[in-house]
Amino acid sequence: MIELTNVTKAYPNGVHALNHVDLKIEDGEFVYVIGATGSGKSTLIKLLNGEEVADEGTVIVNGVNVGTLKHRKVPAYRRNIGCIFQDYRLLPKLTVQENIAFALEVIGMSKKAIKNRVREILDLVDLRDKARSYPDELSGGQQQRVTIGRAIANRPKILIADEPTGNLDPEKSLEIIRLLEKINHNFGTTIVMVTHDKELVDRFKKRTIILDGGYVIHDSNIGGYKSL
């Protein structure tokens, strides 16, 4: 579960990114976070994955108070949070399967276990035939699926997606959202998806949180831009 209580975050340049935000996301939920540039979406993500610490209030994720987490405990905490980004962030010199395996090597998983897990992931993201391809040989949608594969490889409880469809055409965006739904449904992974994509938000109706100027101005389970 994710629980933000009265969270405020300001940067040294004086920008108040988040102001007194209260938010509760239950396990297994699929939530959109939408808002204009500078509305505080990125700061919210950074607070959730432990990159930033709130100035005021508490951020509790899976029972862990992220703000008081010691530095050396952050890596272990991050293993429960998968992240995907608009720009994919794949390692260009590694193949698809190596990119996915990378996340598992880092946490010291055995070679055999990695091999099995990578195969499962490749099936899940439907890229088995591209296992030995390099990122620049793939389409944008395929690259994003590799990123998703890497993010969920060590079975995180939460998946944060920062504009995952931002660089994709509508058809590919659809593929990605269906994959995220599948992960949410099959594994009970909580998904927090930051997006600008109105069409997707309208078509796949989920709980929608709108940020504006660092405030939560809308939080509804009805979903969709049109309902706002």
Binding site: H71, R72, P75, R79, L91, F102, A103, A151, N154
Partner: protein, 300 residues
């Protein structure tokens, strides 16, 4: 700890891959370590041999105390006892001037025979004094010289001391130079590793994102630094390992005269090469550690 041990092969592979990525920088760092260690190696080899030379010379060192020609037998006997009662005296032997002349003729040829006639011998009767500690020879010879009935003393100390002081100078300035070169090598390695870290910054960011511990991220860079140090040590080690035995063989183990025997290659070379590798690895480790500490600081 278990995770660390399990990860070593992976971390090593990662370091090795990096070495190939920016070979020119790695090569120049390894070369600078190589040069520093080469000079260190030469100095060590020269130092060990000069030490051996001075030791062997010192072992042969005796004080020749010339007795005043006016001294009678009683004075000579008294002198003998007085010299024997001094500190650090191993042995005192009397040698008449006739005996000394015979030796001179024997060593340097018949040309000195002209002095053999009665009344023409210019030499003195002497006491040959051996000391227990060669380092004290200067002090002992001064004490002997002050004794009544002693005309002069001679132990060839001047030339030995000159040799020792030349060597000490060489060692001092050489050591300073080596320290400078080592610092330069550390700096070059630090910069090489800094560049590697920069090249891999995306990878490091992803590692952090997926929950890699800081040691997992930084260890390959330290291994890389140590590998550069290892390559640097290889050059002087090969040179000394092949060159010194060849030199030893060609000179038949001596330098100029039998007095200057060279240090036998084994186990001497074993220790020199071991030292070179330890120094190379040490430089690599310190250089890369400095880079890692600065550029892979723990940030959230």
């Amino acid at each position: 700890m278990l995770l660390f041990l399990k990860s070593i092969p992976r971390l090593y592979r990662s370091a090795r891959k990096d070495l190939g990525r920016h070979f020119p920088m790695v090569f120049s760092s390894a070369l600078s370590i190589g040069v520093a260690l080469l000079i260190a190696m030469l100095l060590i080899v020269v130092a060990a041999n000069v030490n051996q030379f001075t030791n062997s010379i010192e072992e042969e060192l005796v004080i020749q105390a010339s007795i005043n020609p006016t001294a009678d037998e009683q004075t000579k006997t008294n002198l003998y006892h007085e010299i024997q009662s001094l500190d650090y005296i191993k042995n005192v032997r009397y040698s008449s001037k006739e005996n000394e002349l015979d030796q001179l003729i024997q060593e340097n040829g018949d040309i000195f025979s002209q002095y053999a006639q009665e009344g023409r011998n210019p030499l003195y009767d002497i006491y040959v004094v051996e000391v227990t500690d060669p380092a004290q020879i200067d002090q002992v010879s001064q004490q002997v010289e002050e004794l009544d009935g002693i005309q002069s003393v001679n132990y060839g100390g001047g030339s030995i001391q000159k040799l020792v002081s030349i060597f000490q100078g060489l060692r001092q300035y050489g050591s300073l130079f080596i320290v400078g070169m080592i610092l330069l090598a550390v700096f070059l390695i630090r910069n090489t590793i800094k560049m590697t870290i920069h090249v891999r910054k995306d990878e490091i960011a992803i590692m952090r994102q997926v929950g890699a511990y800081n040691w997992y991220i930084s260890t390959p860079f330290v291994i890389e630094g140590m590998m550069i140090g290892f390559w640097g040590a290889l050059i002087p080690s090969l040179l000394v390992g092949i060159g010194y035995p060849l030199l030893y063989q060609n000179l038949h183990g001596v330098f100029i005269s039998d007095l200057f025997t060279l240090v036998t290659p084994i186990p001497f070379l074993f220790w020199v090469i071991l030292g070179l590798f330890a120094l190379g690895l040490g430089i690599g480790m310190i250089g890369s550690y400095l880079a890692v500490r600065k550029y892979i600081r723990w940030i959230r």
